[in-house]
Amino acid sequence: MKVLVPIKRVIDYNVKVRVKPDNSDVDLANVKMAINPFCEIAVEEAVRLKEAGTATEVVVVSIGDKKCQEQIRTALALGADRAVHIETEESLDSLNIAKLLQKLVEEEAPQLVILGKQSIDSDNNQTGQMLAALTGMPQGTFASEVKVDGDKVNVTREVDGGLQTVALNLPAIVTTDLRLNEPRYAKLPDIMKAKRKPLDVKSAADFGIDLSPRANVLKVTPPAERSAGVVVESIDELVEKLKNEAKVIS
């Protein structure tokens, strides 16, 4: 069974995110970048499936500029077998990413595609679902457990009311939630081996897809800073303020 894992290069979760002064976007210049944590969980799950003998090959793919090969190398060091880099200088929206992945799915014919449920930079939570729609494959999103059983995969989903388990016919799409697994770190010998694993670079332009954006970012603003509190003189004043200023009680 072949497993395809799309991964995204994002700002490292430890970095304090800043917005560009012109409010056009999040500021990514000179900040530490890493594999999106949900994508890392996806890689880990795929590697575990391989270690368990369920999967035979784990292929990672990343879409972006040349720098995302750093994250591809990390995924290879974590245990993926080979990688595809779809190179583009453009910053693509979810639908375009999903369309490129659709083409790759047609080419690679994986039995399982495991994606992160969302990326920690744009927080869209769309790509997996869009890819499922485009490919016509069944989807199990927000997975906290993935069990392959013959030609089916049972995916336990984290839903508002608790857990829901769905059985999907393979090939299928799974998106990972935080509790699916705890990703490993790369051991030193594996870091060396990763350099020798195959990495296939394709140009996004060659996929014959209109990559013009469907959604434009108009403005990005940081969360409002908490303003200083005030000291009230009496309970009555507090109640009055809660009623009329904060309007949280009536």
Binding site: K16, A29, R73, Y185, A186, L188, P189, I191, M192
Partner: protein, 601 residues
């Protein structure tokens, strides 16, 4: 968000801007590497630090190892953490491929070690000692010894120690009394007492390999009669199976001020007739072998001291950025919001001092690692010899400066936190206690100063001295080429004049005056040289920062480089001028301490 252990941007700066570590990949030994593998290794070290060591750091410090009369008890979380470290491949990262290493450049391994040192404190000592032990045996042991002991040490199955110190022989190893008597089968029977043996007993590993310094019966007195032996905790048969316990007994544990993760033991060898030992190399050359590893060990001590200084700096910086307290002197309004303490001038002073000490020390120890690499892997024989000369000369400074100023940085970190720095809910007081060992072990500050002044300076017609001064001069020229740095370059040039004058005076005095008096202020000489070396390192960083600031930069980058320049300025204004005072004491052969009568105390 918790405080970062290290500023990752500074690591990038040091590795890829100051030392150009990427160019190492052109060397044959490192041709499989690139910047990505370097960063991945550092990332793995950071993750092990985060996941396995940081969560137990406090517990390791608070729950010291105990001895119930039979065995040592350590907290149960330590073994899984050390096992994870071993499995990651980090302990043998710099070793050759054929010894399961990944031929990682030492400078990268040093950075990886810094993360682990900050998170794991002295827990790393078990692993580092084992590596050092294996390196020594590999360099000087016979084929049989290497086959039998080095392999399991490298695999992490056995642990290693260095058993040098005795109750009556610490800094003065020449007087050690542990004896060895040759048996019929060419092994030896070892008898004697050793103290302060780090990792001397525990059950983290299948076996412990003690490297013991002892005197073979009839050998000459002093350092010329000392031999080195492998003395295992358990005897090992030829097929590698663990046999009966050797005649090595744990007499007790020491309870240390810091470094509490690692046991410090008193060991008795030969209480029941003699512990079996195997000679390493030739008779009477033990100290020589031990000292062969000493440069490496001393760079390692400096590196640990620098890392802990960085850890304390980052922690107190984070605290100062988030702790509101008080108002600036100019603000008289009690209703105005409090400022974060980082706004207060004196907090800035203490943070700047830490930045200057910690980042200066880190740059110095990375230079040490790079030189230790260059002396083996540089492109030409000439470059190898040059690196060897510089490293040999600088070793007392690489060991001592971070060891002396690391604890001073940690002292400031405690002060920044105020009362909160004095309690164990924050790690800064632990950093201080851990770091306080560093001026003591692997040769005290005084011993390093004597090594520098009486040995390293005059050696080979002052070859090392001249080599490092040539490096200073190059950087002064680079500084002079940048108008905003010319004042600092001139200040360093003046410092060199003072250094030359002082050195000339002392070398002459050593030949003509009372040598005990001339050497009485040797520590002042080391302090002076150390401060000049750090000033040089800071000017090198400032040259890069000034050049970078000429380009249009992202605000984060501008701030980073401005910080480098300000720390450099701090060092030149607040620290470097002290050398004039030290020089005065030296060039007047000040005899205040020498003339102090022991009865007058």
């Amino acid at each position: 968000m918790t405080a970062p252990m290290i500023n990752a941007r500074d690591i990038d700066f040091l590795l890829y801007e100051l030392f150009d570590s990427e160019s190492l990949c052109n060397r044959q030994r490192y041709q499989d590497h690139d910047r990505t593998t370097f960063n991945e290794v550092i990332n793995t070290a950071k993750q092990i630090a985060d996941k396995h060591f940081l969560p137990i750091r406090n517990k390791l410090d608070n729950q010291q190892p105990t001895f119930d009369g039979k065995k040592v008890h350590l907290i149960k979380e330590l073994k899984p953490a050390l096992d994870a470290l071993q499995e990651s491949g980090i302990p043998s990262a710099t070793a050759d491929y054929e010894f399961n290493g990944m031929q990682l450049p030492p400078i990268i391994a040093n950075v990886a070690g810094a993360y682990l040192t900050i998170a794991g404190g002295t827990a790393l000592g078990y692993s580092m000692l084992t590596t050092a032990n294996a390196n020594l045996l590999q360099a000087h042991g016979s084929k049989e010894l290497i086959e039998k002991w080095v392999k399991p040490l490298r695999e992490g199955r056995y642990a290693g120690t260095m058993a040098m110190t005795e109750p009556g022989a610490g800094s003065g190893l020449a007087d050690l009394t542990t004896t060895a008597i040759k048996s019929e089968d060419d092994s030896y029977k070892i008898t004697g007492n050793k103290i302060f043996i780090s990792g001397g007993d525990h059950d983290l590993n299948e076996n412990i390999v003690h490297l013991v310094l002892a005197r073979i019966k009839g050998a000459p007195k002093g350092t010329k009669g000392i031999s080195l032996f492998v003395v295992p905790k358990f005897l090992v048969s030829d097929d590698g199976s663990i046999g009966k316990q050797n005649d090595v007994a744990l007499a007790g544990l020491f309870h240390k001020m810091g470094g509490r993760a690692q046991t410090s033991t008193a060991l008795s060898f030969g209480e029941k007739g003699g512990a079996v030992g195997y000679l390493v190399g030739e008779e009477n050359k033990g100290l020589q072998y031990m000292f062969h590893m000493m440069n490496e060990a001393r760079v390692m001590v400096g590196s640990g001291a620098a890392a802990i200084a960085v850890g304390g700096f980052q922690y107190s910086l984070d605290y100062a950025n988030n702790r509101p307290q008080g108002r600036l002197p100019s603000c008289k309004d009690p209703h105005s919001p409090m400022v974060n303490i980082i706004e207060h001038a004196d907090i800035k002073r203490m943070l700047l001092a830490q930045k200057a000490y910690a980042e200066g020390a880190l740059a110095l120890v990375l230079l040490g690692s790079q030189l230790s690499d260059d002396e083996k892997t540089a492109e030409t024989d000439e470059a190898k010899a040059h690196a060897h000369t510089l490293l040999d000369f600088l070793t007392p400074i690489i060991k001592t400066w971070p060891s002396e100023y690391g604890p001073k940085a940690n002292d400031f970190a405690i002060q920044v936190l105020g009362g909160h720095g004095y309690i164990n809910e924050h790690p800064v007081e632990m950093f201080y206690r851990d770091n306080r060992l560093n001026p003591i072990h692997e040769g005290t500050t005084c011993i390093q100063s004597l090594d520098l002044l009486a040995r390293k300076v005059p050696m080979n017609n002052m070859l090392g001295y001249k080599a490092i001064l040539a490096e200073f001069t190059k950087t002064i020229a680079a500084g002079n080429a940048e108008p905003s740095l010319a004042a600092y370059a001139n200040q360093l040039a003046e410092a060199l004049t003072t250094l030359n004058k002082t050195t000339d005076f002392l070398l002459k005095a050593m030949g003509t005056e009372n040598i005990d008096l001339v050497l009485a202020n040797s520590v002042q000489y080391l302090s002076m040289f150390g401060h000049i070396v750090i000033s040089w390192i800071w000017l090198k960083q400032a040259v890069i920062a000034s050049a970078a600031l000429k380009e249009e930069l992202h605000i984060n980058e501008q701030q980073f480089y401005r910080g480098k320049l300000q720390a450099m300025q701090y060092f030149y204004r607040y620290e470097l001028p002290q050398i004039n005072h030290w020089s005065l004491l030296l060039t007047t052969l000040d005899d205040t301490t020498y003339q102090m009568n022991t009865d007058w105390f």
